[in-house]
């Protein structure tokens, strides 16, 4: 870490911007208590509200855009007729497109993006590593193999999702058990175990691809691995259950996750039961990721990039970072999915677009905050 006179200018403008925003937002409370309270709920809540409005706006815009463009007033009319006892003047096809095609897809995009980003934020705090992503312990490779295996066996779509979910959980469980039996609870051993298990399941994926019929099964495996929300239907609400459970547990543990990011020694010295807390956080994040991936296939980068973006907006304090990551991840994926389904006549696989957009975006983020990891 460098220190010196150029400090303020070299600092990520994010940090100073955030500090300035915090100070400005806390003026009223400062006067009331006679002290400024940084990161008081005032400024944080306000910024979370802005992110919520962003998500709703992106979601609404996504309902308008597509190969069959619909005007804002028509969408509002259709939404009103669905929720309120009024009738809309919109033609039936338009109603179907909005209610049965676009809304499930927007909701799925928001939930999948939110879950991946929230899980990524939890992993980054837990592993004290800004490069951690939800796939670190092998959940995505495991899920990929689960899906590929089910597709190879010609199972129905629901079974493909269930298999992806199960194998995703299984991969992380194996990584965790291997790490526990080898190391004395060290994070490095856990990460290495995750890398190994990931590679192992990647190899298994390759085997299924090698065995798959190149005309029928192989394309469907490949498309699944590239990710997409094209197959989402209202039936997929089931995936909300594990995602909600994971999110709820992370919210309950939000302060402990903060303390974990101080490092093992300090967390123990502050009275945190390290092994148990870490296990619960890994389980919750894995549950969310496995459910998200079973809905959408493998979508990279969201879980890595969005937490950084969220940190630039609200800071590293996990109780605020978690909801911020969820809201931003949702907006990000809904926006990108809208591009994926409307930019060209054929749908672009979502995982390809998130990587194409995520990679340069991440580099830009790094360039703006070389120290401090935003």
């Amino acid at each position: 870490m460098r220190r010196g006179s150029g400090q303020t200018s070299r600092l990520g403008s994010e940090t100073s911007l955030r500090t300035a925003l915090t100070r400005a937002a806390d003026q009223p409370s400062a006067r009331a208590t006679g002290r400024a309270i940084p990161l008081a709920s005032f400024g944080a809540v306000r910024r979370l509200m802005v992110l919520l409005v962003l998500l709703l706006t992106v979601g609404f815009l996504s309902l308008l855009i597509g190969r069959y463009p619909i005007s804002p007033s028509a969408v509002l009319g259709i939404l009103a007729s669905a929720l309120l006892p009024t009738t809309s003047a919109a033609p039936d096809t338009m109603t179907t497109v909005v209610l049965d095609v676009r809304i499930p897809r927007v909701v799925a995009g928001a939930v999948v993006g939110g879950a991946l980003a929230a899980a990524g934020a939890a992993y980054q705090s837990l592993f004290k590593n800004p490069l951690a992503s939800p796939g670190l312990l092998g959940v995505t490779s495991g899920a990929g193999f689960g899906a590929a295996l089910a597709l190879l066996l010609g199972l129905p779509w629901l079974a493909v999702q269930a298999s992806a979910f199960t194998f995703g959980l299984m991969a992380v469980t194996i990584a965790y058990v291997v790490a526990r039996s080898l190391g004395n609870g060290s994070l490095v051993v856990l990460i290495l175990a995750g890398v190994v298990i990931s590679a192992f399941f990647q190899a298994l994926i390759s085997i299924t691809q090698y065995l798959a019929d190149p005309l029928t099964t192989l394309p469907s495996i490949t498309f699944w691995l590239m990710g997409g929300l094209g197959k989402v239907t209202t039936r997929d609400v089931l995936a909300l259950v594990p995602i909600s459970i994971g999110l709820f547990v992370l919210l309950a543990l939000r302060w402990r996750v903060n303390v974990l990011s101080l490092g093992d020694e300090e967390a123990i010295a502050l009275g945190v039961d390290l092994a148990r807390t870490r296990l619960i956080v890994v389980l919750s994040a894995t549950l969310m990721t496995a459910a998200a991936v079973s809905l959408s296939g493998i979508i990279g980068w969201v879980g890595l990039v969005v937490p950084h973006l969220a940190r630039a907006v609200v800071g590293p304090n996990f109780p605020v970072l978690l909801p911020a990551s969820f809201l931003l991840g949702g907006s990000f994926l809904v926006a990108i999915d809208t591009i994926a389904r409307s930019a060209t006549s054929a749908e672009i696989p979502l995982g390809i677009l998130t990587a194409l957009i995520g990679a340069p975006f991440f580099i830009a983020l790094l360039a703006r905050a070389r120290q401090g990891w935003v």
Partner: protein, 262 residues
């Protein structure tokens, strides 16, 4: 009301004995310094006292109760730790970090309430860095960072403070500032245990001292008794002279430790 260590023995599997029959005691209101060369077992001792190394032989008693039978949060409510360095990856503010000292007082799913915020502020004001509250910890200087970590330990409201080389990596002015704060804390009733590589600091801030060599206590007692030419020369295996320097008049003098070059 003491933190008592009796016949402590510890070994890392495959690395031999690190601590051997170590006995010591920290009472409220006093500062015990642990002096010892690199690898003498100072850090291992701290880790035992914090409940991180639990496979030791002997006993550690916290106000009469066996450390190993106490839940972690309860230990943390009695013993606070000030690390030498903190490995924060993300830009938490100084205030965030101090507020984390409130963790052992929170419910398992709780977050800090208004009262916790106030205590964090008081801790910051006590070490004199309240003006840095909104700055990122990674942005402030090394001395300010050390003060922030001390503030976190104060926010923890524990009776005992364990400081791991609190003056290492600090410039001379900051060393003096940190020592001054340690003196005040002991006077206010904290039981302080600090490891250090500076024998001079024992005279400046500590009421008692234990010399640790190869995992054994070589000597312990008041600084005047223990920190002598013979003891220090043996401890560090280089010739050292402890001199008395008059401070203004005859009655006030200060001891300093000087290496003797041949």
């Amino acid at each position: 009301m003491t933190l008592t260590v009796d016949w402590l023995e510890f070994e890392y599997p495959g690395r031999g004995v690190v601590l051997d029959s170590v006995s010591l005691k920290v009472c409220p209101g006093e500062t015990l310094a642990i002096l010892g060369p690199n690898g003498s077992g100072k850090t291992t001792l701290l880790r035992c006292l914090l409940g991180m190394n639990r496979s030791y032989r002997g006993t550690i008693r916290l106000d009469g109760r066996d450390l190993r039978t106490l839940p972690r949060a309860e230990v943390a409510r009695s013993v606070a730790y000030v690390p030498q360095l903190t490995s924060l990856v993300f830009p938490f503010t100084v205030f965030d970090v101090v507020l984390m000292g409130r963790t052992p007082h929170l419910k398992p799913f709780g977050t800090p309430a208004r009262r916790d915020h106030e205590l964090a502020w008081e801790a910051l004001e006590r070490v004199g860095i309240a003006h840095l509250a909104g700055r990122a910890l990674s942005e402030v200087s090394g001395g300010e960072r050390q003060l922030a970590l001390i503030a976190r330990a104060l926010a923890q409201q524990s009776r005992y403070l364990l400081l791991d080389e609190p003056t290492a990596n600090l410039d001379f002015g900051n060393q003096v500032r940190v020592l001054e704060i340690i003196r005040t804390l002991a006077r206010d009733g904290y039981g302080v245990l600090m490891t250090t590589h500076f024998p001079d600091h024992v005279f400046l801030a500590c009421t008692r001292v234990a010399l640790l060599k190869d995992g054994r206590i070589q000597a312990s007692g008041t600084p005047d008794e223990v920190v002598s030419d013979e003891q220090l020369s043996e401890l560090y295996a280089v010739p050292i002279h402890v001199a008395s320097v008059p401070m203004g008049d005859e009655r006030h003098s200060m001891k300093v430790c000087l290496p003797v070059f041949r």
